[in-house]
């Protein structure tokens, strides 16, 4: 990936879950890693997430959910991104995601899942290595 180009990231909270510590920390952290990051705030429907992704023309969409609704919401966002012509987006997941759900999420188009204990630097490196050129 061209290291001079600035990566644009959307961090989103789909669904009703109100735990946003990780989402906020990641937003600030990725900014310190040199990326442009927009945080959607709480209570985003999948449609609103994709709308923001299109509007902000982001390269990466990070989805955070701790309520257990990730199996429903994350694939839905991927589907809508594809319908909106943003199939090149790198979609990442985080929050409270049981190990056994990860393979299915990956099948549905979530590139990687980063949960509690992951370093921001590791996420930033993953993005730099996997974002569409």
């Amino acid at each position: 990936m061209d290291r001079d180009r600035i990566v644009r990231v959307l961090i989103a909270k789909p669904g009703l879950d109100g735990h946003d510590r990780g989402a906020k920390v990641l937003t600030l952290g990725l900014r310190d890693e040199g990326m442009e990051v927009i945080y959607t705030g709480l209570r985003q429907t999948p449609e609103k997430v994709v709308q923001a992704a299109v509007q902000e023309d982001v390269d990466v969409v990070g989805l955070s959910c701790l309520s257990g609704a990730h199996n429903e919401l994350f694939p839905r966002v991927v589907e809508l991104l594809r319908e909106s012509g943003k199939e090149d987006s790198l979609v990442l997941g985080g929050g409270l995601i049981p190990e056994e759900d990860v393979p299915r999420l990956k099948e549905k188009g979530i590139s990687a899942v980063f949960t509690s204990g992951t370093s921001i630097h590791a996420i930033a490196e993953y993005i730099r290595q996997n974002v569409a050129p």
Binding site: G15, L16, T27, L28, T45, N71, G117, S119
Partner: protein, 573 residues
Amino acid sequence: MLFNKRELSRISRAKREWQEGPLRQQLERFGMEAPPANTYTPADLGDWDFLEKVGLPGQYPFTSLEHPTHLPERGAAVSAVRFVAGAYAGYGTVEDTRDLWREQGRRGANVAFDLPTQCGYDSDDPIARGEVGKVGIAVDTLRDFDVLYQFLDGMAGLDQTASNFTINAPCNIILAMYIAVAEKRGVDPTRLRGTPQNDILKEFIARGTYIFPPDPSMRMIRDTITYCNKNLPLLNPISICGYHIREAGATAAQTMAFTFSNAIAYVQLGIDAGLDVDDFVRRFTFLNFSGSMDFFLEIARARAARRIWARIMKDRFGAKNPRNWITSGLGSAVEGRYCYTTQRPLNNLARGIIMGVAAALSGGRPSGGVPYDEPLGLGHSYEASQLSLDAARIMRHEAKLGEVIDPLAGSYYVESLTDQVEQETLEIMRRVEEMGGSVEAIKSGWMQREVARSAYQFHREVENGERVIVGLNRFTGDNELNVSTSRLAPHPYDPRKREDAEERQLANLAQVKKERDNRQVQSSLKALHRAAQDKNENLMPYFLDCVKAYATIGEMCNVLRDVFGEWEPVDVL
């Protein structure tokens, strides 16, 4: 004062000589730049006065304990199964939870509601998709509440147990359901006991299940306070929380300052409504302030908290009854659950125990901490609960912790630290006061921003290694063993029921909508709409009418959304 000025001078001089002499020599000899450990002396206390700063337990300023000695233990968990049965719980549909609670022999309700319920949406609302019955029970109408309380049928009357509801924005609707369910069972509502959480300000700051903007939200809490004061004398109208603010990333001092500022706003509600402070504050409770692994800091924080609130109730609000100066329900130091790790989770046993000791050293009884498998998923296994119980028993009966109240009182270090935490907290409270109080500090996004900044600071310290978390950012080499465990006994929540709860609840809801008298629903909602526009109206009677007509939570909240508007969070990053 413990030591006179001359004595303190001598001690200060002795410390200076020691720093220049033996300490410096050791540092030089071993090539250390700074001492790895510090020392405190009486000089750090200055003109410290025992009765003014600490006093006797149960006496102003209550630093050691709210009461003269520990209260007798009522309903203590006697087994892992009972421990799990008493915990905050609920999942799926009300049938799922009712059946589980009956099986566990549960006697009281400590209710977790799902997110749609907490956020004022019906199970069939598009925004509820995927969320129904996940983090708690799906409740849409009175029918659901009625079915839930079948868990007690034949075992205890509603006036013989207490119910905790972790519900905030739609609190008064849930209370109306509770009253209606009591009436249906021939129980006098004035004998209902329990505590709804009902602390909306912390929702804006840290937890996220708000609906309406701050002002109308505070009006609804005023309604709770005045209604309970008159009609539900045994019910606590609020549980003022620091826990969530801490877990969202706030520091110890920020947590105390924001929570006590919120508490001041809530007390003011009752006063502005014309109630005598000594009359209604009696029923105000606090939830714990969470914690951290900073052992002595948490002990100091717990002591400072009691002193700070006592001063506020006595001096600022002029409460006369000393019973109203205490932080009822707050307890002593506790663990920070965010400190537990999913990596090498058995280490959480040590973490829980360390904070259990801190609890015993700050006025409480020892606790084993929340079970070690807390970060591994919803609910705790019976094994982890058993270990937590046994840890508390070992601390209490073998180590005899808790037999002396506040044994660190008088410690040069702990008293200095207590004063320091108190000062930091009061300084932040002054800033909030200057902004016009909690509501204004929330409307501007200031509190939320502070929490986010502290959370980020904490994470940076973890990431650069400044803050050590064993097994996570240090001691993770190949020579370390990843000691792990799997749950041996199946978790009480049936995963299949959790998966299809949404489908079943949609059917329940459709059935209620078919069978109810829709004209009655419409007229009760119209009356609610009208009353909501008048700030002087208490909405409880209107909620009661709506609830008894089987109006849904979503329908009632939509009426209120129309009148009050919805909270638009400020962009804080």
